[in-house]
């Protein structure tokens, strides 16, 4: 009898608690759904994304007195799972906004679900989509062209007349090559080669020999992560004396570890957050970037060394700014709020983030300008601002 009573009281207590939980959920916290690659080959990017998001939650956990709730799912580096996660986040968790993810195909899969379910999505990677077809998605990442333009500008300043190109034989290699080809002629620079290699290749000696034989003033590399170090190593081995340029796909501590001395003095573009301490005091993103560094250190007990966690942080800032405006129009957790949120995001004006200053307009995926890029130089394994 006593046992039964106990069970009943416990049951009632649990029911009451659940009801409370439901009630507080109904009083609508804001809900953010994040899907990232916490496992699988993309996890070296996905884990920092998730850590950055935790830092962002600690930095600003409420909007207009309403708490923000963060739901994180792992997509295992698989686009299909990412799509399924997006559906789960929208249907089961009833999130107000989707964020993600570390792979471009996965981000596209999520955006597709977001469009169907009329839920806005803040992308954290460059997304290759027609913005007119899917008006529910935008991204805080810099467009590739913006970054490559900065590299070409720098080449012009360094009196480069001819440049050899070597990059991945995949979409990323194509993207960088196209951007380079678009920007170079205007700067009076001739692109003399288009050599490619696969991510898993063990040697690029053949390709590099061909480039060195053409005697270009500089070489541009279109790789990412640790495989991106291969051309640097091969060029050093062949005694190439010209400048070697990279792009933002290489800003990664593992790349620095593998490239070693061969990466000395390599120039590449990145978001200013990477060199936050070295920025001039009046740089628009300096203060928030320093704040981000501090809060990240506090939350994760480790310093930031990558650009990815900062994208999460910026996505969060854009969301918080938009949500505070959207909440005047509708109640969080409703379809009306999601529409209002989307409209609010697309009318974002001059929101200062760690990577740049965001101004979104309908019909465009990207919201950053020249303030979202700096050129850095690899100097003894450290990124140094190269003004």
């Amino acid at each position: 009898m006593k046992n039964l009573m106990q069970t009943l009281t416990r049951g009632a207590l649990a029911a009451a608690l659940t009801a409370c939980g439901v009630a507080s959920a109904l009083a609508a916290d804001l809900k953010v759904g994040l899907s990232v690659s916490l496992s699988g080959p993309n996890s070296s990017l996905g884990v920092p994304y998730a850590k950055g998001m935790q830092a962002a939650l600690a930095y600003k956990g409420e909007v207009n007195g309403r708490k923000i709730q963060l739901v994180v799912l792992d997509d295992g580096s698989d686009p299909t799972t990412a799509g399924r996660n997006a559906r789960k986040l929208i249907e089961d968790e009833k999130v107000d906004v989707l964020m993600g993810t570390s792979g471009v195909p996965s981000a596209i899969a999520m955006a597709q679900v977001g469009k169907e379910a009329r839920t806005p999505m803040i992308g954290l990677t460059p997304i290759l989509l027609d913005p007119n077809e899917n008006p529910w998605v935008m991204t805080v990442a810099q467009p590739t062209q913006l970054m490559i333009d900065a590299v070409v500008e720098r080449m012009k300043r360094n009196n480069v007349k001819t440049v050899g190109y070597i990059g991945f034989s995949d979409a990323w290699g194509d993207l960088v090559y196209e951007a380079l080809n678009k920007a170079a002629p205007a700067a009076g620079i001739k692109v003399v080669s288009n050599e490619r290699y696969a991510r898993g290749d063990s040697s690029v000696t053949g390709q590099v020999l061909k480039i060195v034989a053409l005697r270009p003033d500089a070489v541009m590399t279109g790789g990412a992560g640790t495989p991106g170090a291969l051309p640097f190593l091969a060029l050093q081995e062949r005694g190439f004396k010209g400048g070697v340029y990279g792009q933002h796909g290489l800003i990664n501590p593992d790349f620095v570890r593998v490239v070693g001395a061969a990466g000395q003095n390599a120039l590449m573009p990145t978001g200013p957050v990477i060199v936050a301490e070295q920025l001039p005091a009046d740089y628009p993103t300096k203060k928030i970037a320093t704040d981000f560094r501090a809060v990240f250190q506090k939350v994760n007990n480790a310093p930031t060394s990558d650009a990815f966690s900062a994208y999460s942080f910026d996505g969060w800032l854009v969301f918080v700014d938009a949500a505070s405006r959207a909440m005047k129009k509708a109640e969080p957790g409703t379809p009306e709020f999601r529409v209002a949120l989307r409209d609010a995001i697309f009318s974002t004006k001059e929101v200062v983030g760690t990577h740049g200053v965001y101004t979104f307009k309908p019909g465009s995926l990207y919201g950053v300008d020249e303030r979202a890029r700096v050129i850095v130089k690899l100097d003894n394994g450290q990124w140094k601002l190269a003004p």
């Binding site: 063990s202 000696t205 390709q207 081995e237 593998v258």
Partner: protein
């Protein structure tokens, strides 16, 4: 293309070819003795390289745990089968063989992970650490199905590769590693043409090891037993050779080769958890050129694959692998043309 470029490409190709040569020898050795196309061969090489990289960054290589778990599995399998056959008297020997022996490199590796250990020790331990891998895998996976058809063995071997590369991702993470070169010497030959010491080391290792191989096969009893098993398993058994034991010997030798390959290429290429597969695949092309039986033809095939790969990367980097694997087509055509067509020989062990 001028002579300088061609010369550089040839040296680069020979260095790669030397690696494929060693891997090809390992593949042919295992196939001829056990009829298994040992796909995880490259993974073992990658594990050796990544273990060495782990030593260099001051971490305890996760390979230790893997060897230990595999040893426990192998011991359980062995003791289980001994109990089933009622041969309890042989259990202590099995414990020594499957439990204690593989544990030795694990302990050595654990000790070597302390700071201040010289590089040479790291290299030796990294190689030793992967040596038990293939025999242990063979005991757990291949020995129970030793009499299955070649196709079944191939599929199991392929599954094993995916298992190993998955574990590699779990243990070593997705990013690659590169170790410090074993030697930084550079040899200048004539007109400004240089060869790096690492390349000389790779080619030298291939020459020395294939020489040793030749000597072992020609001069030692164990080598002759291996050859006998390769020629005819039943016949070998009749003259007192135990196929199980020769198979383990073959796996052990191949594992040792894989370990050496790993530490040889780790400084010149960035090794990832899955890099082993493509090395194994190219070595397989070489082994096919040798018909999976002939060591000298495999060696020639490996060097050819290396040189073709190097020239292909010069002419068209994107199509490099396509060109290398296309080598298989004419070789297979020629082989099927020249081979005497007899009815498929039933494997004698089955009967």
């Amino acid at each position: 293309m001028n002579w300088d470029v061609a010369l550089i490409l040839v040296t680069d190709g020979l260095a790669n070819g030397a690696v494929y040569l060693l891997a090809g020898l390992g593949l042919v050795l295992i196939f001829s003795v056990t009829r298994v196309v040992f796909v995880p061969f490259g993974d073992i090489a990658a594990f050796a390289a990544l273990s060495l990289a782990a030593f260099e960054t001051g971490r305890v290589p996760p390979t230790i745990g893997m060897v230990a778990v595999l040893a426990a599995l192998a011991l359980a399998t062995e003791v289980g089968s001994l109990l089933r056959r009622g041969e309890t008297a042989r259990i202590p020997k099995a414990v020594l063989m499957w439990g204690v022996l593989p544990a030795i490199p694990c302990v050595l590796a654990w000790l070597a992970a302390r700071p201040g250990v010289p590089v040479a020790v790291h290299i030796a331990v990294a190689v030793l650490l992967v040596v038990p891998l293939a025999p242990l895998l063979a005991r757990v996976v291949f020995q129970p199905i030793a009499d299955a058809s070649v196709l079944v063995l191939l599929i199991v071997s392929l599954a094993l590769h995916f298992l190993l590369s998955g574990l590699g991702l779990l243990f070593f993470g997705p990013e690659g590693s590169r170790t410090t070169p074993l030697t930084s010497a550079v040899f200048t030959l004539g007109d400004g043409f240089t060869v790096s010491g690492q390349v000389v080391l790779m080619v030298g290792a291939a020459v020395v090891l294939s020489g040793l191989f030749f000597l072992v096969f020609e001069r030692t009893v164990a080598g002759k037993a291996l050859r006998a098993t390769a020629v005819n398993r039943v016949g070998a058994r009749l003259v007192g050779i135990r196929p199980v034991r020769t198979a383990l010997l073959a796996y052990g030798c191949a594992s040792l080769l894989a370990g050496l390959i790993g530490v040889l290429i780790a400084p010149v290429t960035t090794m990832y958890y899955d890099s082993g597969f493509i090395i194994g695949l190219k070595a397989f092309v070489a082994a096919i050129i040798g018909g999976l039986v002939s060591y000298p033809m495999t060696a020639i095939g490996a060097l050819a694959v290396g040189v073709v790969e190097s020239f292909a990367s010069f002419w068209s980097g994107a199509l490099k692998d396509v060109i290398v694997f296309s080598l298989l087509i004419p070789v297979l055509m020629l082989r099927s043309f020249m081979a005497a067509h007899s009815e498929e020989e039933e494997d004698e062990v089955d009967q």
